[in-house]
Subunit: 414 residues, 2 copies
Amino acid sequence: MQVEIITIGNELLIGQVIDTNSAWMGQALNDEGFDVTRITSIQDTAKVISEALNEAFKRSDIVLMTGGLGPTKDDITKETLAAYFKSKLVFNQSAYDNMAAYLKGRVNGINKLNEGQAYVPECCEVIDNPVGTAPVMWFNHQGKVLVSMPGVPIEMKTAMTKAVVPRLKALFSTGHIIHKTIQVFNIPEAILAEQLEEWEAGIPDYISLAYLPNPGKVRLRLTAKTLDDKQAEKDLTALTEALYEIIGENIYAEEDKPINELLADVLKQNQKTIAVAESCTGGNIGHQITSLSGSSAYFRGGIIAYDNEIKANVLKVNKADLELKGAVSQPVVEQMALAVKQLMTTDYAIATSGIAGPDGGTEEKPVGTVWIAIAGDFGVKSQCFNFGKLRARNIQRSTEAGMLMLLKKIKEQG
Amino acid sequence: MQVEIITIGNELLIGQVIDTNSAWMGQALNDEGFDVTRITSIQDTAKVISEALNEAFKRSDIVLMTGGLGPTKDDITKETLAAYFKSKLVFNQSAYDNMAAYLKGRVNGINKLNEGQAYVPECCEVIDNPVGTAPVMWFNHQGKVLVSMPGVPIEMKTAMTKAVVPRLKALFSTGHIIHKTIQVFNIPEAILAEQLEEWEAGIPDYISLAYLPNPGKVRLRLTAKTLDDKQAEKDLTALTEALYEIIGENIYAEEDKPINELLADVLKQNQKTIAVAESCTGGNIGHQITSLSGSSAYFRGGIIAYDNEIKANVLKVNKADLELKGAVSQPVVEQMALAVKQLMTTDYAIATSGIAGPDGGTEEKPVGTVWIAIAGDFGVKSQCFNFGKLRARNIQRSTEAGMLMLLKKIKEQG
């Protein structure tokens, strides 16, 4: 069943606000068997809104709209929809009660702008919005559905979860959709596709494959549209197993989670702790780890050893190694990992030292050269990478590669 | 001059990837006097792509397209565009050379799928893509322009900055545009707008004002569309001066630079060095500082003291203070700043300790409570903030507030 999303607001078009609503809606709808086939972001003028709505109804039975429902005069969605459906704005008691309940205790009294929010097109049905003052409006139109929701993410999400998706499911029959995402590391997309040519040819017709590349990794997404869940699960499992035969070394996850979460999972599961010693990543591994709530259970801390003196004085890296081998070298990064593990008395440590660029490269060690070490009960392991010329990408890839090296090692050990 | 953006890829529609490209493009184009009037995200089928292109060309003279240019067979943009323009795919030496240069040192040899990326519609002009293997393609079509770019953000951004925007500016006249951005800290948008009501009323008609709110700060962007640069500069200066009269205390920059760059500027200018001691920010201040190239000139390193034992053992914070006042307290954060400054022998230090949430709050210190200290030749200064309930926002705001406190102090000292 096809769904289109229309998002309204100049702030989206001039890049003042990133539209995260549509992706959230796309995922929520997709999980329930609806296909979002188009997302359109438009300016808030009556003409543009009406045209976009006409086009969407030509293609799809369900149109979900967000934005343009605020109390100020630049928000014209309601007036436009009233005109579009040849209806008129009328006072709606349930919209008023909802707004009054929301504002109670927040502001003194209801001003005229807010009161205006209780007026809705006569032809619509008002859906509860317990987390804001704007009405959520459901329109039935010649067997098709339009839902107009606020653009404030929490209001849209609440309406979608509590009312819109359940109602759509009751009205429209959807097939069943099963996704399986396999994350692959350290094979460029083109080489991966070549290696998987035969495997791809064996994918049943009802399952589709997408390559989702990011720097350093590719997510392979298999999507089964089916009425026979059991068969689909069987086929997806067989495809995954066949994939391990070809590129098992490079698969690091069978779920669509970022590396910091995957690492957090194994650390929590095994009740292990970790510390970091960061040179070229400058604190980003620590930042990625601590961006997850609950990280204090396994993350103890780290040393950002950007300057060589910090490597020598705080991490006690051998000065002769720093001078003779250089900061970006195997002995230095291994000593960093071992030192921080000991200093912070953790089970594991990750250390990085590299040339993030754009300056500082030499012929022997060009920009992008990064040494990464992990330490643990297995001793210390290290690897040299080259992540290319871009500073931001170098930092990001070094961060992910460090976490991934440790994740793989822990998983290997069982 | 109107521009439409078309983004191609099922991953956008099912919410697997959030479209951040369009917002970036919208802002970059808007800065140069182009108006993005519509953003459309569509599935990667030939029929849908051709239809979307037809519709966009009916409305606009410039269409920018991203996505669907990977080496794998689910990427069909090139074939579709060749058919659309009644052209055919031909081998392009410059696309090949670009790809070969990019792949050199990364992979051994160029495989058949990558080689396929060097084939482009005969009617297009290939624009250099120094940061990836996909071609950037420029089409002239009945006085209108289509540019097809890869969906990988860094590739799109590089092409836009280096080639697409400059070429569009040369081809289409957009009038002269002068932007002036004033950054304001620590006043919520609604209160700021109230305070500036009279000032706003005095803005000449040819200058427009936009409030660009971010957590903790508002950027006020004045945009003059003019033929008389001199008058515009004069008016913008007068408006800025008038702004200082009203909210001078809260203005921290007259240029649109992020705080880490502003701090880097004053540190380099005064040849000073800095270190960080991070608890709740978990390495993010270090990460923000080191995301700038050349940061090794002023950043020496830091301690991520996430666990209290690290605060006590590595930073030598008084154990009684940790126990009696708690980690999130003035004495602890001040000791952290002074200790890391001494340990790393720097001129300045920033320290953070807070409750990022969602757990760990108490009645006395709710989630969002953050103590921040700065240390320098002025001794140590600290301040307590509350940044609310959201973890990611707490970390971001603590990071920016710490850098800002130091930036203001250094500027005060002259």
